[in-house]
């Protein structure tokens, strides 16, 4: 374990660690574009220059291994001057179109320019014009002019996704990144190239021009797209969620996440949500608030359920938190109900794995549901419930419906089939048109919170419990499963269990937070 001194402070690093890793460990600032902790070392941007005592001249920190007793600094005037000139070279052909560039606000070049830049460039020549708005498939747009050829994206497709679509073509100042014949970059991890692009050369089709990043706040949560459970960061403002990016988590997802997971903010936004509870009495629909809907449900059914608990079935999906499972299972168990069914989507492909991150089980918490249910009477297969409904053994059905309906192609058909129950209570986050076609003359639709609106724990595919915190409120009237069950039991909600949303709003947090490089 060699020790070295970084800007006057001693630090011990792993055997074989590079100087830039030592800088990162000390949280010391160091300019860099091409180095990324999740990729190999390229050493092409030449900005991470440091002075090593006794060395012949300045060294690049990303490709120099720390040796015992090295004394390293990047604070000397000489190094600052080198970085300043390095910046100037990067800016020779880079258009300073920051006001119309989507990367502005989270751009590495912009950041370093503000810090080190020579504000008056000494380059008198015309900038080389390159291709703009190159369509690279479903998700990514390329602007060659802005590219500083750090090669992060090329290394990503070579080393991580192993799809090798991107390359650096041509030579000298005509070099540009691209795909052969502009073939689409349609691998399942393509948006990671947008994340790691230090400038605005690669931008996301979904996100570009929708929001300035400095108007967005971000918060950490867990992706609920599959049983991998990647650590992610969601970006949002008062209108809703705008994008999802990966967080570094060595044990689960490294630095990456899949493209599919990045679309999962959409179903949580207001446009696709069930905003109010709905009651159907056989002829008319009535819209009420979620709380009063559950209370009237409680008045109507609680006694019946207590008398004949065997006629009640509860259907679970793997999209809720462990806490919600525990609370609701306990409530039902207390009422004597023991018919718990597991609605498992894509039964056939649930054990698939693509070798990197994507798993076939498109639920974040199947493990958690199984664990919690095993403490009670266990889970039965959903197919059995359809038979029971046909034979009339079950009169009341509670369904804890999934949020991520894109992973549930059978959502509508199951809604129709399950609504054959006499009393039908559908608890879910989403609004779809199939609700109109209910078969039950006593239907309740209860709006639930999505995964960004609650705190809790997901247990991922290998049994790791991952806690996540409340991000923001999108549908104020929605309930968590725990809250709904508390109300159903006839108790009032303790206001304390709701997230304290006002605490963080003392200062205008939507304008204070910038993105990270």
């Amino acid at each position: 374990m060699p020790k070295c001194t970084i800007n006057g402070q001693e630090v011990e690093v792993k055997e074989g660690a590079t100087i830039i890793e030592a800088f990162k460990k000390m949280s010391e600032d160091i300019a860099h574009y091409c180095w990324h902790p999740g990729l190999s070392v390229a050493g092409v941007c030449r900005l991470c220059m440091v002075d090593v005592e006794g060395a012949r001249g300045p060294q690049i920190a990303c490709n120099t291994v720390v040796r015992e007793g090295m004394v390293i600094t990047n604070q000397s005037e000489q190094i600052k001057d080198i970085v300043r000139w390095g910046m100037d070279f990067h800016l020779i052909n880079h258009p300073l179109d920051c006001p119309i560039c989507d990367q502005a606000g989270e751009c590495g070049l912009q950041e370093q320019y503000m810090k080190f830049g020579k504000y008056d460039p000494e380059m008198g020549l015309q900038k080389v014009k390159k291709r703009k708005v190159v369509d690279l498939g479903e998700r990514v747009v390329l602007d060659s002019e802005r590219c500083i050829l750090c090669s992060r994206c090329v290394r990503f497709t070579d080393e991580v996704s192993k799809t090798n679509e991107l390359g650096i073509f041509n030579r000298g100042d005509r070099s540009e990144i691209g795909t052969y014949k502009d073939k689409p970059l349609n691998n399942k991890y393509s948006l990671n190239t947008v994340d790691i692009c230090p400038v605005g050369a690669l931008t996301s089709k979904d996100f570009r021009f929708r929001q300035r990043v400095w108007y967005l706040k971000n918060a950490d949560t867990i992706c609920n797209g599959c049983s991998t459970g990647c650590s992610v960061k969601t970006y949002y403002n008062e209108e809703g969620l705008f994008r999802v990016k990966p967080n570094h988590n060595e044990d689960v997802n490294g630095y990456w996440m899949c493209d599919e997971g990045r679309d999962l903010y959409k179903f949580a936004n207001k446009e696709s949500r069930l905003l109010k509870a709905k009651k159907f009495d056989g002829s008319t629909w009535e819209e009420v608030s979620a709380g009063s809907a559950v209370k009237s449900l409680s008045h109507q059914l609680l006694e019946t359920i207590k008398e004949t608990p065997s006629k009640v079935a509860v259907v679970y999906t793997g999209q809720f938190t462990n806490q919600e499972y525990a609370d609701s299972l306990k409530s039902f168990d207390g009422l004597g109900v023991n018919n718990f069914y597991h609605w498992m989507n894509n039964q056939a492909s649930k054990d698939e794995f693509d070798g990197l991150l994507i798993r076939g089980d498109k639920n974040p918490n199947t493990k958690g549901l199984q664990n919690e249910a095993s403490k009670f009477s266990g889970l039965k297969k959903l197919e059995n419930l359809f038979n029971e409904l046909e034979s009339g053994n079950i009169e009341t059905v509670f369904v804890m419906a999934p949020e991520n309906i894109s992973a549930y192609p059978e959502y509508e058909s199951h809604f129709k089939a399950l609504s054959k129950a006499k009393n039908f209570i559908w608890m879910g986050a989403n609004q779809t048109s199939c609700y109109e076609s209910t078969n039950s003359s006593n239907t309740y639709l209860i709006p639930l919170k999505s995964y960004v609106e609650k705190s809790g724990t997901f247990t991922n595919h290998n049994g790791t419990d991952q806690n996540f915190n409340y991000v923001t409120t999108l549908v104020a009237g929605a309930l968590t499963l725990s809250e709904a069950m508390t109300l159903f039991e006839g108790q009032d909600l303790d206001f304390e269990i709701r997230p304290k949303i006002y605490k963080t709003m003392k200062n205008n947090h939507f304008t204070s937070d910038r993105g990270e490089l």
Partner: protein, 157 residues
């Protein structure tokens, strides 16, 4: 549409065994394509090589676009490369190039009307002691004067 000959395919297969990594064989294989296709590499050859060599298209395209020795557009029967680097330049390399351009009625990298000649200015060909010089297809012609150069080319035509 260009396709490698069966000997060409054999060549590629032998070449990829020859180096430690298959990637190293890209340059000889591209040269082979250029030789078989009248001196230039058509874009579809990248896809063909990629399949033959089991390498990503982007990697082959990177090499093809980087080196000026690979012609990306059709050239004449004789590819005349006139050195315009420092030693040749001092001995009249540029004048030689413009004289040839005028003589054969071509500009830039275009092919002469009879399809015989393409004249390109290139960087150092490593024959500074015999400046000015030019390379016609694979051969060097050295210690040139404009007249001598024209007669060499006309003889080869």
């Amino acid at each position: 549409m260009f396709k490698l000959s069966s000997e060409g395919i054999d060549f590629v297969k032998k070449e990829i065994e020859r180096y430690e990594t298959r990637r190293s064989a890209i340059i000889p294989c591209l040269y082979r394509v250029q030789k078989e296709n009248k001196g230039w590499v058509p874009p579809e050859a990248v896809a063909e090589l990629s399949q033959l060599m089991d390498l990503p298209e982007a990697w082959i395209n990177e090499i093809l676009n980087f080196y000026t020795m690979f012609n990306k557009e059709p050239i004449g029967k004789l590819h005349v490369q006139v050195c315009c680097n420092i030693s040749c330049c001092m001995n009249g390399g540029r004048e030689l190039a413009s004289h040839l351009n005028k003589e054969f009625g071509v500009q830039g990298n275009e092919i002469s009307k009879d399809g015989n000649v393409t004249i390109t200015r290139v960087e150092c060909l490593g024959s500074c002691d015999t400046a000015p010089m030019m390379q016609v297809n694979d051969n060097y012609y050295e210690n040139l004067t404009p007249e001598k150069a024209v007669s060499v080319i006309k003889e080869l035509m």
